[in-house]
């Protein structure tokens, strides 16, 4: 049987999710036995112009070049996977509103600077994607799980649990109930092992919004423990461009 041809691409981003791929270590070798990585600029010179069975894209399409490439990759890929928050949600780069870009180009560069960036949006703003492996960064186990499901011919799925489920398993106190601190755990998909809350940091929902999440109910609850400005900061860390979140605020 021929191995599926896999291409790994990075658009504008921190490349931390690709670092996570390397952090799979021995498991990356096992995965490599089952696939043929024909394109991976960060990892190899070998380059194959497609078509591909699976294309994994990390990062946000910010420049025109990236937007065009994304459309071509979609046409040339049977399955298109978003890897990490930048690809799946626009993530931290999505905090910058399109209308403010001009101001910041002038401020950070100069008025003479010729910008390449258009706007920081998720892949799904331009093309349909088949699955998103969420996280900022992604979790190694979630990558392996999604890849194994794909390789066995299934469409990967989410557990349906919220981050609260992971948090209980990790033995953490509840930020909202026990500590009266804001948290997006209740509306966020499980899979991260509640690693940020375990380390003492907030949950900003980088694992994506859980299906059937009651966003407006969470916002109502958060209003009883903090001010609106803080709630807005939480909701915009990774979800400035997430429609359900923007609708939930209304």
């Amino acid at each position: 049987m021929t191995k599926p041809k896999v291409a790994i691409y990075d658009f504008t981003d921190c490349e931390g999710c690709e670092v996570k791929l390397v952090s799979l270590r021995e498991r990356l070798l096992l995965l490599e036995n089952k696939i043929d990585i024909v394109n991976w600029r960060l990892g190899q010179e070998r380059f194959d112009a497609g078509p591909y069975d699976v294309t994994i894209i990390e990062g946000t399409p910010i420049t025109d070049y990236e937007v065009d490439l994304l459309k071509d990759l979609r046409k040339n890929s049977k399955v298109l996977i978003a890897l990490g928050a930048c690809a799946a949600l626009a993530g931290v780069p999505g905090i910058m509103p399109e209308k403010d870009r001009k101001f910041w180009y002038e401020k950070i560069y100069t008025a003479q600077y010729r910008p390449r960036g258009v706007d920081a949006v998720p892949l799904s703003a331009y093309v349909p994607i088949d699955f998103a492996i969420h996280g900022c960064p992604v979790d190694e186990d979630e990558v392996v799980k999604a890849m194994e499901e794909l390789l066995s011919g299934k469409t990967p799925t989410y557990s349906g649990n919220s981050t609260c489920f992971d948090c209980k398993q990790a033995g953490n106190k509840c930020r909202i109930r026990d500590e009266e601190k804001p948290c997006l755990g209740p509306i966020t998909q499980a899979g991260c092992k509640a690693i940020c809350v375990t380390g003492g940091s907030p949950c900003y929902g980088c694992f994506g919004i859980r299906k059937e999440a009651n966003i407006s109910a969470l916002i109502k609850k958060l209003k009883t423990i903090t001010d609106e400005k803080t709630i807005e900061r939480y909701l915009t860390m990774f979800h400035s461009r997430t429609k359900e979140v923007n609708d939930g605020k209304k």
């Binding site: 990356l28 070798l29 991976w40 960060l42 380059f47 065009d68 993530g91 390449r116 960064p137 380390g199």
Partner: protein, 406 residues
Amino acid sequence: MITNEFIAKIEGHGNLKIDWSKNSVNLGVHEGERLFEGILVGRSAEEAHWITPRICGVCPIAHNLASVRATEDAYGIKVNETTKLLRDLMVCGQMIQSHVLHLFFLVLPDYVGIDRGTELNQKDPKSFAKALALKKMGDEIAYTIAGRNVHPTTTTLGGFHKLPTKEDLKNLLAELEKNKETATWVPQLFSKFDYPDLKVELQLAALVGDSISVDSSTDKNQKREMFPAKDYKKNIEEELRDYSTAKFGKLKGREMLVGSLARLAIGGETEGYKLDFANPFHNNLAQAVEIFKYHKQAVEIVNKLLNMEMDASIASPTAVAEGGEYRGIGYVEAPRGGLYHEIHLDSSGTIVYANIITPTVQNLTSIEKSAQQMINNTMGMSQKDRERLLNMLVRAYDPCITCSVH
């Protein structure tokens, strides 16, 4: 069109634009602008060190610490000894993680005749197993102290949300001791490679304490210059190039080199290895030596922590706002060199200004100069061989294009 126009095996999207008729070269940088210095404005003090690690997934700890220090400087927060040690240990982990990734997955293929780093597993499984063991060790330091291997979760202004337990530290010490021989082996391995010849006149710059120290790569008579790290903006100028989304840095108008090679030139301890500080290819040997050095330092710090009472207290602000603002500068030697974060906050703790100068910004002009030198030196060679050497040269610098654009 699906094409491969960027240099493979470097962080981010860049390429050398060479005019072979004129033998001239530009280093093109094509990463999209995320505008982090704008993203930060309007966010809160506690969010800066959460947001800035997302500039770079290869050196997130460095951004996290530079950012924390900038805000602590603004607020007059003085951290305790435990915090200082834990942060130094995070830096050790960061250096090992980044250098191992770069040396074994991006550089080594150039010298042993493979393409993807994992192919070493067929060619030399013993060496590859060692590389993976070191990768694991670097990640373990980060997990134990920073909470995660990529993007820290435990750090906060004034200290840590959560300290490792003594049990955690004992496990980490066991992991470090298990890899002692392997850490010693890395520079031995990288000292055997036949690095291409190149001699470039550059200003080698590294942070020593609170000063930036500068030596010439070629002129032994040039007196070492030193200036306060807080004057970073006065001394490191950034220029725009129409072929780059990153700015190009210069040190008082001259091309500079930062990172492992500069650190060893300035620090002087090369652990008995002979390094040519005028040859940027030797940056890779310097990185290998640093894996050994930071491993040793990590062991020392963990032992110190195990033998002391750890202080979990979080230091409080002492500064008074000047003219309604708090202003601070934070810096750290990141894997690729000096990293500077500056932050201004209003009286309510909202960020009103941010400035970041990354190591790769400082190296871009030097990469271009070295590439030009390489072109001048290789006139008799085939274009293909020259292109291969030039790509190797760019890789030797370990540029982080992602950081440079931010």
